[in-house]
Amino acid sequence: MLELFDINSFYGKAHILNDLSFNIAHGEVVALLGRNGAGKTTTMKSIMQMVRPATGSVTFAGQDISKWPTHKIAKSGIGYVPEERRIFSDLTIVENLEVGRQSPREGVPTWSFDDLFDLFPNLAERRNNRGRALSGGEQQMLTIARTLMGNPSLLLLDEPSEGIAPIIVEQMAKTILELKSQGLTVLISEQNLHFARIVADRAVIIESGTNRFDGNFADLDSDPETRDAYLSV
């Protein structure tokens, strides 16, 4: 469904992604693991063309999206949930969702305001509150809900557990599994291996912007050397 091929991305002269390749099949949840600075966020941004890769290609649903502008990629069905959440703090919850709204897409679940308020009951109670009044956990839910309003077929979640109370992280895990059961494909970048293990089918470990491991968690556990070298839990 999504294929990254030999992506090279730079910030200034710093070479962040180095011939990075991996792919995600339809309906899969893939965890993108790696240290801080390994290039996880840049990978997400490169898919969205918020960082423009110097070389390489990103193929989504059979189309090369490498040269597309960001908004067109979002329109094609990739939903991006950034690490810093970036909710619109001046807008109400409903208005935040409205920004993310797109027309229904064939073959993927369509989300209405009510569906999302069912999925995130905390948000329903506060639907007319401004974003600034939300706690960190609620903000994280709002970013996910806002992205779902675009009826994405592929969801990119950048470190959703960062800075969130353990109990909320558990809820988040349930939500992601629920989304998976509805047929969504998910790429989730994580530093929390425990969390990744719960939600993901497969792990991709990157280090210095290169793919160092690609396989399921059983393989990862049987290869403690790799695990400790790139994750060192």
């Binding site: 910030y11 908004h71 979002a74 970036r86 208005e95 920004v99 709204r101």
Partner: protein, 619 residues
């Protein structure tokens, strides 16, 4: 009671156009973060285009359609400006775009001159609304009443658009985080263009709508610019109801001012603004700007260090070369050099607070003109010698900066910019209207240097010593602990405060210091010209300094000198042509697009790329 009500109604009617133009500025700023200096030019174009179309379309229907046509036409011009001039430079450092919009002002001025000529155009009266209605015995123009009736509809329509429609939601979201809006599937380029269209259209409508009251002339752009800044700031950036209340307040005050205090009409508006901002620092209905909410645009600054031996040698050689000018060049060349050194010092003093302090002042002319007037007043009234003036005038300017700084330093960002603008305008209007003391529009003349320095060559050397002395002092201050504390306060106020730095006090001292240095430049100026006029205090003068700093490169220490020299030389060369504004405006726009880091900044970057200088690469 009758005259009072009539006055009040006139004020309300005047508020209509002001509100339209100001709300357009507010919208554009909110979404694109661009302080659109050219907004007054859109207003002016609205008036001219409306005038022309009214000549073609007869009757009441023609009149009102002409206003709409003018609005749409100006909206399209706004789109052209946005797409050609601003799109290429959205990623440039914040506020850099205002240089480009300044270029647009110049271009539009000359295009209007070419198209409509220099004559003021008398606006046609609105068909069917030509007469007056007597209210309590006082005549009130029918057209005024029509305007009063229309305004609430405009306010409501805009309010509805912004708060209730999807477009409005997107606009408000983009105001906060435009990149995220794009990541959610919204084409932000078109959103920006759309907002520019809307903002420019509102300005054009305002210009056309006021035709029966004010006509069209070539000074409209700058004349309204100050007022709309004031309105937007009093109302609170981004607040439509705020802008409406402020427009009414300013217009009504103006009308009463003209009647009851004709000597102080100009001052009044700025006094009101200063009072409002002192009580409510973010305007009547605005809210505090959260620092970092919009994210730093562009690369962070490079650390800098004082020149090594080689750098100093190069500077010394350049200075010695310049010192030979009297032996090689003409008297005219020396005078030009004097002018340039003075503006270099002026620009360097602005750069000190703007770049190192992060305090973007839109009113630095207050200190340049302030120093010049302080010196002139001392010479004129106290018969003070030049030498004493050189000591005292900068000190007096420093005190002026203490007073202005006391009010302004509490604010940040665009509010700081606007309040400094208000204070400089306040000073300008004081000087302009207090003719008995300052000579008003006629200025003050015969302010000559002491006899020993009256020879051009001697004064050239004096300017070199004082001008470059001032610049070197400013540069050294940048490398001193104080300069570091100033940068620390800008880089991260939270970190600075959490490590014992009183950031506001540091900024206050820097503001005062920069003010005194600008005063020194002003003092040099008045003795080099022998006269001083209120123009040296005008907005245009403050803008000149801003343009110089940004054009040269705000993030480099050499920027202000390069920018000041470049702009002065361009102006000096181009003003000999008839349509020099057009040429200068296009040149400025070209530089802005080609060198988005400013001339010095972009040269440094290229030099680093070609391996001439070393630069740490940014991750």
């Amino acid at each position: 009671m009758g005259p009072f009500i009539a006055q009040f109604l006139t004020g309300l009617a005047n508020a209509a156009a002001l509100f339209l133009v100001a709300s357009g500025l507010s919208l554009i700023f909110g979404v694109t973060r661009i302080v659109n200096f050219a907004h007054g030019s859109f207003y002016m174009l609205g008036a001219f285009i409306g005038y022309t179309v009214m000549q073609l379309l007869p009757g009441a229907f023609g009149f009102w359609s002409s206003i709409l046509v003018a609005g749409l036409a100006v909206g399209l011009i706004g789109v052209i400006v946005e797409m050609l001039v601003l799109r290429p430079i959205y990623r440039a450092p914040e506020l850099f775009q205002l240089v480009a919009t300044f270029g647009v002002i110049l271009v539009i001025q000359d295009l209007a001159l070419i198209t409509w000529g220099a004559e003021d155009l008398l606006g046609p009266r609105a068909p069917g609304l030509k007469g007056v209605i007597r209210i309590l015995g006082e005549p009130v123009p029918k057209y005024d009443l029509a305007l009063i009736a229309i305004t609430p509809f405009i306010l409501f329509a805009l309010w509805y658009l912004i708060t209730k429609t999807r477009l409005g939601v997107l606009v408000r979201a983009a105001t906060q985080d435009r990149e995220m809006v794009a990541a959610l599937g919204v084409n932000q380029s078109w959103l920006f263009t759309g907002v520019f269209f809307l903002g420019a259209m509102l300005a054009g409508l305002g210009g056309a709508l006021q035709l029966p009251k004010g006509g069209a002339d070539l000074l409209m752009d700058f004349n309204i610019l100050a007022s709309i800044f004031v309105v937007v700031v009093i109302g609170g950036m981004g607040s439509l109801p705020g802008a409406f209340i402020a427009a009414v307040l300013i217009s009504v005050l103006n009308v009463f001012g003209v009647r009851y205090m004709p000597q102080s009409t100009l001052v009044l508006m700025y006094v009101v603004m200063a009072v409002v901002l002192i009580i409510k620092p973010y305007g009547l209905m605005g809210r505090k700007e959260v620092a970092g909410e919009h994210g730093q645009v562009g690369e962070p600054e490079q650390p800098f260090s004082p020149f090594g031996r080689r750098g100093r040698l190069i500077v010394a050689v350049l200075l010695i070369a310049l010192a030979t000018l009297p032996f090689l060049g003409s008297k005219f060349a020396m005078i030009l050099a004097i002018d340039i050194i003075i503006v270099c010092l002026f620009a360097a003093s602005l750069h000190f607070i703007l770049s190192l302090g992060g305090l973007v002042s839109f009113g630095h002319a207050a200190f340049f003109g302030g120093g010049a007037y302080a010196a002139a007043l001392m010479v004129h009234y106290a018969g003070s010698p030049m030498e004493l003036a050189f000591v005292l005038a900068p000190i007096i300017t420093g005190f002026l900066a203490i007073i202005i700084g006391w009010f302004c330093i509490r604010l940040t960002g665009v509010y700081f910019a606007m309040l400094t603008l208000a204070f400089s305008q306040l000073l300008w209007s004081l000087v302009f209207q207090w003719g008995e003391v300052t000579g008003g529009d006629d200025g003050m003349v015969s302010i000559w240097p002491s006899p020993w320095a009256s020879d051009t060559t001697v004064f050239f050397y004096l300017t070199m010593i004082i001008g470059f002395g001032g610049i070197l002092v400013l540069r050294h201050a940048a490398h001193s602990p104080f300069g570091y504390a100033l940068r620390a306060s800008r880089d991260s106020a939270g970190r600075a405060e959490a490590t014992g730095i009183n950031t506001k006090r540091v900024q206050f001292v820097a503001f005062t210091f920069a003010g005194a240095m600008a005063g020194l430049a002003g003092t040099l100026f008045v003795f080099s010209k022998g006269s001083i006029f209120p123009t040296e205090l005008e907005i245009g003068k403050s803008f000149d300094a801003l343009i110089m700093v940004f054009l040269g490169g705000v993030k480099t220490l050499a920027g202000p000198l390069v920018g000041a020299s470049a702009l002065s030389l361009m102006q000096d060369y181009l003003t000999r042509f008839e349509y020099w504004r057009l040429a200068l405006g296009l040149l400025i726009i070209a530089v802005v697009i080609i060198a988005p880091e400013g001339i010095a900044g972009t040269s440094q970057k290229l030099a680093a790329r070609w391996g001439i200088i070393r630069r740490d690469e940014v991750q």
